[in-house]
Symmetry: C2
Subunit: 354 residues, 2 copies
């Protein structure tokens, strides 16, 4: 309704001191029920809302969480990231925090963190997409800026707070499923393997193979940005080769869709001639959740991860003395239409079947 009413004006109208009004509004105990009521009423009537800059200056807390994202679009700056953000944003709103996004040139990423710390732009940050040679956590520790990692930083698992899915285990289980179905020539279309999550997925894949005495064929391993054409092109190339795979393990639904397209173009049938298992981040615009999902998948809600990461961070900010905490989530393995038994070709030597 009314505009520009500040605390001074409001307290003046009430014949009260700013102190009392402030206390009344912020729920401090040392103010009588009657005054509190009066204050609330008048505040409502005049449409008073505290200026956030002033409050932030006075309290020394910025009530904002920073997310810095490098401008170049790699693995991270993709729909998965958005879904995570959405989840985190919900939590922030619920707790009265703001979300601050900084899109910066790659070269200025470190600078962005420094500024957040020195100019007090945020009370904490979320670190996205940790790489194998991650260093951001060192900087953040130095800056004394609370943070939570989405993913894990190799070698720093115990000294940082993070939330991650069990990537290794998910891909191990997926690979086992394919092996159980009789597939032995399995292609892995992974994300960029300098990223921690992709690295772990690779390990899960290899571990599962190794457990059955198999080792991956380098000709069937790929690592790249998870686009749709990436899936299609590699499916075409591999299926057109002399010793084609009978199954694909894919790191992202988007690429899996590409693989399916490639399979179709070769005149083959997904789930019959060639199997696909993909990881499914439960993105809202790529639902894979029918009664029988299109893709057999390992599924883990990245939106949920966002919510939890935010909660973790907020708790850290509230209690700075708290120990690093972490949340390790297991992905569900969900059977869909894209997998089936390995086609019986020139009987490959699958001896160790039980």
């Amino acid at each position: 309704m009314a505009k520009g009413v500040n605390l001074k004006e409001l307290s003046h109208r009430l014949n009260l001191s700013q102190t009392t009004v402030s206390r009344a509004l912020n729920g401090y105990p040392e103010v009588s029920a009657e005054t509190r009521r009066r204050v609330a009423e008048m505040a409502d009537q005049l449409g008073y809302a505290p200026n956030s800059q002033a409050r932030r200056l006075a309290t020394g807390r910025s009530m904002a969480i920073g997310h810095v994202i490098p401008r170049s679009i790699h693995e991270m700056m993709n729909p998965i990231f958005l879904e995570f953000i959405a989840g985190a944003g919900e939590t922030y709103s619920k707790h009265g925090y703001d979300m601050m996004l900084s899109v910066v040139d790659d070269a200025y990423e470190e600078d962005a963190y420094r500024q957040i710390a020195s100019r007090k732009k945020a009370d904490g940050v979320i670190v996205h997409g940790p790489a194998n040679d991650e260093r951001r956590h060192l900087l953040l520790k130095k800056l004394n800026l609370p943070f939570v990692v989405h993913g894990r930083i190799p070698g720093a698992e115990t000294e940082t707070s993070w939330i991650d899915m069990n990537n290794r285990r998910a891909f191990e289980r997926a690979t086992n499923l394919l092996l159980d179905l009789g597939h032995t020539r399995i292609a892995l279309l992974n994300g960029l393997e300098h990223m921690d999550f992709a690295h772990r997925r690779r390990r899960g894949f290899e571990d599962a193979l190794a457990a059955r005495g198999l080792s991956p064929d380098p000709a069937l391993l790929r690592s790249a940005d998870m686009t749709e054409p990436y899936g299609c092109e590699n499916a075409l190339a591999m299926l057109g080769g002399d010793n084609p795979p009978t199954a694909f393990l894919v790191s992202s639904m988007i690429s899996a869709i590409g693989v399916a397209r490639g399979i179709g173009q070769m005149g083959l049938k997904t789930g019959k001639d060639v199997s696909i298992i993909t990881h499914d981040d439960a993105l809202s615009f790529l639902p894979n959740s029918g009664e029988v999902p299109i893709f057999t998948c390992t599924r883990s809600s990245v939106r949920y991860a966002g919510q939890k990461a935010a909660e973790l961070l907020l708790a850290m900010i509230t209690d700075p003395a708290s120990e690093p905490a972490s949340l390790h989530m297991d992905a569900e393995l969900i059977i869909g239409q894209s997998t089936g038994p390995a086609p019986a070709r020139e009987s490959q030597n699958i001896a160790a079947e039980n």
Copy 2:
């Protein structure tokens, strides 16, 4: 380096007043070159960075742009949105602005705008995904909060600042291309038509048909959230019907991929048996840009739109007296592999061919 140096401390070390130091750092003219140099040097050495909250309070400008996004995921909260955000974010960083994202329950959307205004959380906002019965602009005008619309608000085109692509014309041209190729049974898989952009696309489609004396078959019109299954399911349903379409006009690459999948499942070939034209927002993880793109498309970079919208808004904030401005962009019509002449079936009456 050093931490917690504030202006007082810094000026003390320099034997200068806060005024002078502030002026030197902010590039005001009334300070000698020599002092400016000294100040800069010491500031650098002590790692001084002005506290943003304090600065904001003093200047009365929050140096932030707000984006409020309702929590429910409709047309908007999708990768297209992210790409727009990325574009806008680049511009903000370049100009020293922060981006503030608010993810709120749908019921609190209006509240979010009110808070941004009353608590001075942002100097302006971007309005995303205007609907046919849009009302947010009225609220924002009342709140006196500068804003730029991504898209157009029907009926308020001249009194608001906006940036949009020419949706109607893009779909008109796309439809004409199909008509020129001999297609007359064209399906339209549109976005949610209570959104302005979808509504315009529909009009472009209908106008093109009407110009050739044709009218759309209601059985071939769909409007929904632009997911992948949406494309596939409708392709299957329509192609399985008695009078199937020979071409699909689709509002999003994601759904177009679904359509292609459906076509494949029917044992048909995209670009030969059935044509597809889609709108392509130039999303980074869905490249459609090979020498001959997979999909014939109308293309318009939504990231660029984000940059421009941000520039527009920043200009409005700098000069509040400025008139509403707008940017109307035409989409490119790009020929890819997904279109071809209409298959000669039981010779439909295509008389008006020239």
